[in-house]
Symmetry: C2
Subunit: 203 residues, 2 copies
């Protein structure tokens, strides 16, 4: 058993946990998943915004465990689609529909839409809830445009249609290191790490 305080991150995704440990690992917490902490609860993500959904998850885990809990919620906002799929990014067209199909559907919907109206952004809200009821939320974006074709094998989800003008590539064509430096989740997690250090220092 570790003497460190536990920080429970509400994710079941091992890839995400690795990313989180890389950023938050030096904060002095033992970072564990819900499963590792023995937290087995169903959480209904019925918020209307990324921030609400991240808070709903982190609050539920903090209340069930009595430990500092963190969660994130992220998605893609396409301006020409009235900011859809937004908070429904994962479940859009059905959870089991492949991203090849979902990505092609977005390209099809934007047929004839000129470059300057193809703006889009990945959004990530990261929430931390402390056992004393205090909370922190950080939301960060990665701005780009919807491309004209699926391109790239890195990343996941909507990355192959998310064109980054400054790179001349999609976010599935840049390296994981390049993506982590500019991505919505990378930025939100790094800011959260800075803020947690600051919270600790100002207690």
């Amino acid at each position: 058993m570790s003497d460190k305080k536990k920080l429970i991150f509400a994710t079941g995704n091992p890839g995400k946990l690795k990313e989180i440990k890389a950023v938050l690992g030096d904060l002095g917490y033992e970072i564990v998943t819900m499963k590792e902490a023995g937290i087995d609860i169903d959480i209904v993500e019925d918020g209307k915004t990324f921030e609400e959904n991240a808070l709903i998850k982190a609050k539920a885990v903090c209340e069930a465990s009595g430990c500092l809990a963190m969660a994130d919620d992220s998605g893609l906002e396409v301006d020409a689609m009235n900011k859809e799929p937004g908070i429904y990014s994962a479940r859009w067209m059905g959870y089991d529909t492949s991203y090849d199909i979902k990505n092609q559907a977005i390209i099809d919907k934007l047929q004839g839409v000129p470059d300057e109206e193809r703006t889009a952004r990945f959004v990530c809200a990261c929430a931390a809830v402390f056992p004393n009821g205090e909370e922190l939320v950080v939301k960060c974006n990665m701005e780009g445009r919807i491309g004209y074709e699926i391109a790239g094998a890195n990343g996941f989800g909507y990355d192959p249609i998310f064109y980054l003008p400054e790179y001349g590539k999609t976010s599935a064509e840049i390296t994981p290191e390049e993506k982590n430096a500019i991505s919505h989740r990378g930025k939100a997690l790094r800011k959260m790490a800075e803020l947690l250090k600051k919270m600790e220092a100002s207690e």
Copy 2:
């Protein structure tokens, strides 16, 4: 005209603005009210939590102005009343009902409720929304108990029935300086100031 960047605080309350300037004044922003910034919009605070309402206000002002915007939302949660009045604290029993009447109504509702079940807390969520879409939210609490009688002339709102066991007084009986050091709003604003400094430093 100032060369400083504007920070618009979504409040019409001059007392609150003074408190805000005292805490955030050294951040290098020119802190102005919506009115001073010429922002005249109606904001519907239809969130279900303090955090949502603070974000709704700050987002609306940021979008209308293109400037960094901040807002807070606060209230009283009485555990024996199922955490009411909560986000409805200001409008509970009607906006125009005096706090003498509202405070007596809470004391009456808690008749016969023993000390240990009279727990309550003041909650303040403070949100900052940046023109690039990034967001920060901080929520802080002040824990106490509902007293047995109205006491004290300092503070405002529900302060005269909010008993602080460590002081043996209500939050309307301690000095404004004492209250500011421990209050939900004082803590949330000071944390926000620290976080804003950190955000600037890490840009």
